[in-house]
Amino acid sequence: MSLTLENLSRTVDGVDYVRDANLTFEAGSFNVLLGRTLAGKTSMMRLMAGLDKPTKGRVLYKGEDVTGQSVQRRNISMIYQQFINYPTLTVYENIASPLRLAKMSGSEIDRRVKETASMLRIEPLLKRYPLELSGGQQQRTAMARALVKDATLVLFDEPLVNLDYKLREELRAELRDLFRERQCIAVYATTEANEALALGGTTTLLHEGGVVQSGPVMDVYRSPVNTLAAQLFSEPPMNIIRGRVSDTEVTFDEYSHHALTQELARLAPGDYWFGIRPSHIALVPANDDDLEMSMEVALSEISGSETFMHVENSHFEMVLQLMGVHQYHTGAPLKVYLPVNKLFVFDSNEQLVHTPTRVSGGAN
């Protein structure tokens, strides 16, 4: 029981909304589509739902072609970014509506509605009307309506963007738990890397309508196929620096020269892109072969627990994510240290050639 997209494309007057996508979603899986706005997340979901027709390719469900099937006949549900509920129905009736249409018995409907409502903690609101509720409550109602019928495919189109920061955190956590046991296919679109990480499951990176990379969230995160993937899936974006490896040394932007140690030694001479996550750069050397670079502080942003430090030099700039508070003034010079074993290496056409050595344990 799986949903398969077979070289699926949708082009609207010349613009590729979705470009030749090949993906499979397994039952009981939680799938995150991660990409910037207009990356094709929504378009892809609409194709899965059957709300739009593809210009090319097929959608297969349990192996059979459902591309042409009407929305009503597919057993799906969808949650939108804007809070969409029937404004003229009470919360109760909103949640009940899919069941009523499924000609379910009154008692059964009542049971399910109550159950789902309590699951999403909106039981006390059942008699109210959607527009009387806060954004969070409205979205909970929408989710309840989506979950009350056991849809085989549940689509979330950035459901949390219009909610408060803390609410997002809560609902996100609840979602993960809600879908743990469910046997449906959940697809969730978001623009935020951290959300993708928090939700787990499998992650698919989209860019300009095309699939960049897809797989278990940690695999994608730990070994991004190219610089694009690396930057899409890192917040703040991964630092990427151009570098040249000679027989004797590695040079970053003709600026800082370093000896070849560890993995670097294994790289054939040539041009590369080196990536490092903001959180891996340190202000004090951890190992003696850390790459030392002298930079200037452009700006340091303190978020209480961490400091985001934007540093630059005449050739390139980097972002550091440091635990604790580090107060520096703009323009202050400082040395930063890049641990060699945390470097991502991409070849001259930006394809991954080396990932950092995995820390013990790794993905779970």
């Binding site: 408060d164 920061y165 940690m218 344990g361 790794g362």
Partner: protein
């Protein structure tokens, strides 16, 4: 530029408020000093936008005073208060070009044309829209429009303050980083009093030197991001700042400290001392996931807990542990690897264990 003071301010949208519930803002005293970069942080419906509109004069407070440099301005209209404000959703005059939009406030202030030109240029460059200057505003993308509305606020040099009402809502995460940085630079460049309303703690703390946290109509804490993080003086601040928020446990008094279930927590002497002098039984302890340590060895100040869940967020992990009947979250480095169900020894460093009586922090007297 001015110092903005709010004196015993209260506001209700209903004409004759019956109970405290009808108040968007209640009994609020606060001072925004000259030239500071401030954030006003809180969940939606906590009254933060109301407060902003009261400062700018778009809303008349039902009680209390608004003072600019000690002068009462309640009766003054926004135009006379000479305040700039940027709204949550872009407001551009779509019949004008970007240039005309940015020039508009200056024109209204009868600024000489030459001055306008240079000033607009300057701001346009800071916001990186100088290439759009002659486009019609209505043909811009959402975030360009928002930049323009910001520009209209920033372009005036003489303003007493600039107020931002969740200005980055419509902006892509990737761009948010850049824009927030811009604002900060602008503040350092022109040092104007800036008040920035948001529900996003990261936005707030990265923009502001000091943050006022609002919780149903009141400012519960006003301090630097670090203060808010390390010593939240109200359980709400603990919960709201930091992600995940502070672990907060209901406890009761016991010999030499406090207790929940069968677990006894030792308190700092001064904490127990103060606690001894207090009647209330509404006691809570809080400790941040970042400050809970997991020690390899068991000792008499560690607590044995069971790992319930491990959330891998790439650069770090959030571990959910069960201590007695209580769930707690612990932040660990990405190297952490203990399987679900395994036992760990929690260590609560004394200086990070906060005690709350009636939701407010018990602080050590100097």
């Amino acid at each position: 530029m001015a110092e903005i003071q709010l004196k015993s301010l209260a506001h209700s949208y209903s004409a004759n408020p019956s109970g405290p519930g009808d108040y968007a803002i209640r009994q609020l005293d606060h001072v925004w000093h000259k030239g500071g970069a401030y954030a006003l942080l809180g969940p939606s419906g906590c009254g933060k936008s109301t407060m902003l509109n009261i400062i700018s004069g778009l809303v008349q407070p039902s009680e209390g005073e608004v003072l600019f440099d000690g002068k009462r301005v309640n009766e003054l209209s926004p135009r006379d208060r000479n305040i700039a404000q940027v709204f949550q959703f872009p407001v551009v005059y779509d019949s004008m070009t970007v240039f005309e939009n940015l020039a508009f406030p200056l024109k209204n202030n009868k600024v000489p044309a030459a001055k306008i030109k240079t000033r607009v240029q300057e701001i346009a460059e800071v916001l990186e829209i100088e290439d759009k200057l002659h486009k019609k505003a209505k043909n811009l993308t959402a975030d360009e429009k928002q930049k323009v509305s910001m520009g209209r606020g920033l372009v005036r040099e003489d303003v007493s303050a600039i107020l931002f009402d969740e200005p980055l809502t419509v902006i892509d995460p990737q761009l948010k980083w850049k824009l927030r940085r811009k604002l900060k630079q602008i503040h350092e460049q022109f040092d104007i009093t800036m008040v920035y309303v948001t529900h996003d703690q990261l936005e707030a703390s990265t923009f502001a030197d000091r943050i006022a946290v609002m919780f149903d109509g009141q400012v519960v804490q006003f301090g630097t991001p670090t203060e808010l993080f390390e010593a939240p003086n109200h359980t709400f601040v603990g919960y709201f700042i930091g992600s995940p928020g502070m672990n907060i446990l209901e406890v009761e008094r016991c010999q030499g400290g406090v207790r929940f279930d069968s677990t006894e927590l030792r308190l700092e002497p001064w904490q127990s001392e103060i606690l001894g002098g207090m009647k209330s039984d509404n006691l809570k302890v809080g400790i941040r996931p970042e400050f809970i340590e997991i020690s390899p060895v068991m000792s008499d100040d560690t607590y044995a807990a069971e790992v319930r869940d491990v959330e891998d967020l790439g650069t770090y992990k959030i571990v959910t542990v069960k201590l007695g009947e209580q769930q707690m979250k612990v932040r660990q480095s990405e190297e952490f690897d203990a399987g679900i169900g395994s036992q760990v020894n929690l260590l609560f460093p004394g200086q990070w264990l906060m005690l709350y009586v009636d939701e407010f922090l018990v602080q050590e007297q100097q």
